[in-house]
Symmetry: C3
Subunit: 673 residues, 3 copies
């Protein structure tokens, strides 16, 4: 039995619970906590994330007594523990004694204690102290009956993506030596002939600290790689200790909302299971599709393995400028959305709302106002509901019809300075491609450009700025073999060292796309361009057709009459290309056409606007459809075949009624419960 | 005879004059200065504020010769001197020899000489040098015939509110040791169980320097307290020297426009008289009511004792982006406004406009253009006018009908980061409550939440975020005993350590208000919410009535139909509550209703819009009404009884005519002159 | 034969080419480069600007072998070389070994390698290493057959205008000692009596590092002077070496787009010829007139001597947020515009577009897409065209009718902080005066306030904030002697030490202007003021006439009825004065009236809107008119006399047809070719 099977057996159903920080409360509260957890259906808590100072109040004194009692109490209450390694926020004594563990920004500003993550990821002092603590924790609790899994660190890179101090500089040089072998290879990779930046030896290399003007982009990209790797090394230092001491316990670390800090594909391969902290903004009209995209990413990081929704807010967060609560029903709706996209856990930050500290206005399962509150009532009801459908736990999501290509390396490249348009943001661009698919209820997986594309009907490639030869060949092969692909502008421009592929843009894809881009025509901020259908923004470009046909053309400005959107039959497949960012309606229309051509189907046909459906496949092979009504109106949804709603406990019907913000869990009528 | 009586006798009438910086001019100009001062009715000048380098050009050389001649010349001319301790801007030699006196920002940026206030408030080097200078000045001039009072430092905290250097860190630790005794009390007060911030000893504690994310809010608030106290310690170091050497001379320091830097209630108790620098912006449509609010604060700081308007601009200032001059008549109008609110001095920055330096475009009594200028003519006329009404000098303002609650501690708390709405600004919020009262000509005092509320008909409590038990009980007692109180949202949320009062918001006021706030619903920037009457902005919240009645409700969005404004009969009184920030018209309507219920009356009834009245009570008990026409049109004002206008020299009448920007000083006809 | 004559003989016609950075490419590309240069008509390349690390890869190793081959190849191909001193971007080994060469910002942030210009201009280490390199380069290539001229440094001050480090502080003190002799003179000049800033010795003086509030303005202005001088000293260090080793070769350095960094009048006197990098923004509707102004400045810096357009972009740049390409024809049009204004060179950055590095998205003569591109075709065509008109080379521009006064010293003063209006930007203000003259096709020279004004029909003085006695007298003499002058507000306010001229604003010009300004009334951002004709913005002021007549008056706000624009007969001439910034139409009308009165004429009469004409005078005295159609429509232009279009090869005609974005080179029919 592998680690994850053990965890599944331990939990017996979807994990439900939240971050638990009992050190903030007197022991008399702890007893009430466990009682309320049982009442709320909690079967897992994340414990000890910020307990370093609690269990090691001084360098030479570890005190596990109170922590033992907490663990025992949880075990007695039947609550599993996702036990943290406690290293996310070093106690004041560490930096007081070793100020060099504090990180520095690119401009030399040192970051001090008083918040969290105030450590240089490369610091040997930090790593040694962390390792000592992790060993002690693992040895003490590695076979504790409450222990379900490990939570390593916390939200790596959320606040400190990289450190620019001298210690980090030394580690960066080691990393570069490892990557390049000799300094001439580095000079070549970094194009240091430009601006007289040639290094005579690795010893001269520094992090990309504040410079008089645009710093070397290849240096920046390598520093982003190094930053991701260096935090991963912190993670692995701890992971290896846990694997040694408690080899049967799975381990994870929680990723933060979709950001370019870490190369999550690389990271995910070192986790036993992906977990994710999801914080859509209730004030954002696109909160639901944005969350959907991030869930698809998380599920795809380890090839479709269910992920854990490790944190979400029961209601408001505290860290935006204006922190809206979730209206009634939204917490349940969004929790089911996570499950619909493949979550095996619905967890919250946090169990009991803090009285003090920087996050006391973050909502919690037990709010300041206590249990006679809407928040707690909704938490309790959801807990009961989730416990009633254990068959969802571990259910896989079938392979989607559409793959969306995402690559962190390219992301790092795209958003460097001194680009034709400095305002390109990959997350916005990917979302612009994803939204119409979401609106059409088309399921998507997320793949790396070099990933396995077999079986996908349509591959969408938003603005893949950087592409190596292998990645380019992979995409080309896909089309040549019969696939349909839609790529957008500024793709295939550079190699992994940010060196332009010569021979006409986008050189590695010209053959596949049947065109050449002669020059980029970025659009001014707030200024669009008319197309023969719809409008474009952000970008335009001068395209010369070399086999492709124009699907839409520019109809305003200097490029009037030239192609804006093209389609090229290539091999057995077809490649679409967008030379601008179409407005949402036009983007939807273009993706619909490409999808129709490719045979893409929605998860369920004929759903009303605002209703989302996703499907999971239980271990016995049967399907479960999750239906979500994101609109403020109740709707009746026709079904293609009779189904039962297991949440409503309703028998077979050819339609289902969804309340405003309602959810249903549909089982084809033929399926046994 | 106490110090202030001495001063009153010395001046004989309202103090009139300005900052005088003769070291910027050759001696031949000094003679003309005194001649022109006499012409302008000047009886007091603030001398020596930036004279440190002038009298102590080198560390070991004090040179008082030229300063002696200036003092003598002023004495001969009958001009009193408010003599500065000269410590506001250390000379270059101090920081050149002791760079550690320079302050540091939270991000470690050192602040260098070249402007002013470039000293670390905790620096023992600075304090010693300052003390040596103050002793020398006091000994030399303590019994000089020109000396009227002392001006200690200058605008404390205006530019450097706090220093984050290592020296300051040490002082902060001492301050904390004093406050908390042992480190566990500190850990408890700062909620350091959160994010693993527990301190093992005071030695580990630092100022809240730049951190990776939101720093500890209790640490920030204590650092704000420390910052205020540390500057106060600088002030007191000098005050004690003066008290010892010249015990009969009163001392003050000038407060800067209403800011959250210093706890002025605490500071004011250490002054002999409050003085204030007032700089309303002529471009601001609310300049007059904003100034009125600040004057009410200043008068209230020492229980209604008249304050000194120590600085105002004759016309434009220099430090805004666009510095508008005061149109004709405005300087006189606003000067009378200060007197109306309780000023015993009308002083300017500065006497003679500088030729060089950073403030040369700040207007002055004698401008660059000389005396044949509108500015000097208006100065001369006002001087004569003020000299004609000596009975106003020392006159108290009768207790107002309304008290507005203000607390610096709570202010510091409210504006920390990571709040439900990070854009709450207490000064704006207080002003939103004050403006309708001003528009209705209702006089206000400003009180601390724990202050004496007896005699007030209405107590207004704008957004009192932080409230200790005593303060809460004081407000509750007031209502229970028959008072009327109006409180607005996000009040009573935390204790003085920024720890939430548990048990349902706002726990300490729930009984009094008859309600419970279940959850905050901050509004997005620029997005309002409809009310059953008017609109709200910034904030909404879910209120459950527990005895209170709804006065207005939300009529849009998720909270439709729920209470937005409530009223609760409590004991013998009534408590109103605002769960949003109403638009100005609605706020005015609500305050009018609460005021009517409480029996609040305007200073004079039936005044036209734009006309302001305030009253002072002379030593003989008779009243003087100051009438101010802030509008651009002349108006005729009906009076409730025949009065004489002592500025116009007009006999008894039942009305008075006010020119555009005109002022009148009304004496009930029955009152002898 | 002087240096410039040698250069002229060497080139034989307008210089054409670009920056050439062969070290970024393998040697096989170099051969193709020279072949393509010949094809494109290139006769000059700027070589080696960033070659320091290429020729000196380590401190003790200089390697000229590959550079020799490049020089030889160019010589063989008949391409001249403007050879750089290679000092613009020190190699990593320099700062790795001597970190103190890195510059520091005012807030203490150090600027690190990774970009360029990362050296402290005062650093003796930098200067010594630079000098050693320059000597080696000059000795090696001083008589190389390819060598045409020297390119010293590169774009001095573009990124690092000044350094605030301790080394710079020492140099600043030396500079001040030189300027002031003793410290009391400094105290006087800096008005240090203000805010107690008196220095006891030069040793206490520092650069104007970050201070608590507004720093001393005179210190700032002197630091700006020092900054310009210190970079000039770097330039001169290199220039003197070149003059010694290769006395016959002219030297230049390229100035960056009009900025206040360097006092270009002072700098230009140390160059053999002015050269300029021009980067108008194709997205800017005023790109052409803005470029025209900068070209007039460049031509005027050395008394009308033709300048070299050393860099322009063939199409897009890379360093704006959105980098638009030049539409077809615009590169040619703007190149001819530079020639029309006096350019003897049309050069580009750069020859071959970089594959890597921070500027790879900057367009180039040979783009990423190769030679089958619009960019290269336009480059080739222009090269052939320019080669066909050698007579333009060296042709002077006749003295213009209008002189526009510009002074860097005053610019530095105007834009200090704490002004009546902190948003005055001299470049915008000068452009507001220049634009109407441009639109009327009136040629302008640019002169210093103390420069030779004889022969100008109209002198325009935009916002000359700072004026010494000599400058003021020079302008007054001009008017008194019969000239017409138009001056705008906030002129003549301070002396060169930023000390106000007392006696009523603007004291040095009151007699000439016949008025006195009593008070400034800056206008709020976005708020204008009505005039009796048109509208004003930014500024208004209270003017008292003392002999002048009102030409327009304010007709709104507090100043209604008072003069806004005045005219004063003075001596034999007339002085106009603007007390506000009129809207563009009104500014054009006022300048037209002043111009008519002064007898100002356009270069050619009756040109359609959008068509620009400028004239140059060949060595034989004959005239050449350059006509430029900046509009998107073709136009027919009537001519005052029959002319031949040498670009079209068209015979004499009384009109000429210009395509959209077309250019013509007109020769009066009587002139022999």
């Amino acid at each position: 039995m592998n680690r994850m099977d053990r965890l599944y057996r331990r939990l017996g159903g979807i994990a439900y619970g939240g971050d638990y920080n009992p050190e903030q409360w007197p022991e008399e509260v702890h007893a009430e906590d466990v009682r309320l957890m049982r009442e709320a259906g909690v079967n897992l808590v994340s414990l000890g994330i910020f307990s370093w100072a609690f269990v090691q109040p001084e360098p030479d004194r570890m005190e596990f007594g109170r922590f033992d009692r907490i663990m025992d109490r949880l075990a007695d209450g039947g609550v599993g523990v996702c036990l943290a390694t406690m290293t996310a926020s070093p106690p004041p004594w560490l930096s007081a004694r070793h100020p060099e563990v504090l990180p520095e920004r690119a401009d030399g500003t040192r970051l001090w204690p008083g918040a969290r993550q105030h450590y240089c990821p490369s610091s040997p002092v930090y790593r040694e102290h962390a390792a000592r603590l992790v060993s002690a924790v693992a040895e003490r609790y590695g076979d504790h009956p409450a222990l379900a899994m490990w939570h390593i660190g916390n939200e790596y890179g959320c606040h400190v993506r990289a450190c620019y101090c001298d210690v980090s500089a030394g580690s960066f040089r080691e990393w570069l030596r490892e990557r390049y072998g000799d300094v001439e290879a580095l000079n070549d990779a970094w194009s240091t002939a430009f601006w007289s930046q040639r290094y005579a030896s690795f010893e001269e290399v520094l992090p990309p600290r504040t410079a008089p003007t645009f710093p070397n982009p290849a240096q920046q990209i390598d520093f982003a790689r190094f930053g991701s790797d260096e935090l991963l090394a912190c993670y692995l230092t701890e992971k290896r200790i846990l694997d040694r001491i408690a080899p049967e316990v799975p381990a994870t670390t929680n990723f933060v909302p979709l950001a370019k800090t870490l190369d999550l594909f690389e990271w995910a391969s070192h986790l036993d299971v992906v977990s994710y902290d999801s914080y859509p903004d209730p004030h954002d009209e696109h909160a639901a599709p944005r969350a959907a995209l991030s869930y698809d990413v998380m599920r795809s990081l380890r090839g479709g393995q269910p992920y854990l929704l490790m944190e979400q807010a029961p209601s408001a967060v505290n860290w935006r400028a204006r922190n809206a609560p979730k209206p009634p029903g939204v917490m349940r709706l969004w929790s089911w959305q996570a499950v619909a996209h493949g979550a095996d856990a619905v967890m919250f930050f946090q169990w009991r709302q803090s009285r003090g500290g920087a996050e006391k206005y973050h909502s919690a399962m037990v709010p300041h106002g206590g249990t006679d509150t809407r928040a707690f009532r909704e938490v309790r009801e959801l807990g009961q509901e989730l416990a009633s459908v254990p068959e969802l736990f571990g259910a896989r999501s079938p392979r989607a019809d559409v793959a969306v290509v995402l690559d962190w390396q390219s992301w790092w490249g795209l958003e460097q300075a001194a680009r034709p348009n400095a305002d390109l943001r990959l997350d916005d661009l990917v979302f612009a491609h994803y939204l119409p698919l979401y609106q059409e209820n088309v399921a998507c997986d997320i793949v790396r450009p070099g990933g396995d594309l077999s079986g996908y009907r349509l591959v969408v490639v938003p603005n893949l700025y950087m592409a190596g030869e292998e990645e380019a060949a992979n995409l080309e092969r896909y089309v040549e073999g019969g696939g349909t692909l839609l790529m957008s502008f500024f793709s295939g421009i550079v190699d992994p060292c940010d060196r332009v592929h010569l021979g006409g843009y986008p050189a590695p894809f010209r053959r596949m796309l049947g065109l050449r881009v002669e020059e980029f025509w970025p659009l001014d901020d707030g200024v669009g361009v008319e197309l023969s259908r719809g409008r474009g923004s952000l970008w335009s470009e001068e395209i010369t057709l070399e086999g492709a046909e124009a699907v839409a053309s520019f109809s305003g400005g200097e490029l009037t009459g030239l192609p804006a959107v093209t389609r090229h039959r290539f091999g057995l497949g077809a490649a679409w290309y967008l030379g601008t960012l179409p407005d949402p309606a036009t983007m939807r229309e273009l993706l619909r056409r490409a999808g129709e051509e490719a045979g893409v189907r929605p998860v369920l046909p004929g759903l009303p606007a605002g209703v989302q459906a996703r499907v999971r496949q239980a271990a016995d092979g049967t399907l479960r459809y999750v239906l979500l009504n994101h609109s403020a109106e109740a709707v009746t949804v026709p079904l293609p075949a009779p189904m039962c709603d297991d949440l409503a406990g309703a028998g077979p019907s050819d339609h289902v009624r969804l309340a405003s913000r309602g959810a249903a869990l549909l089982r084809p009528a033929a399926t046994p419960v």
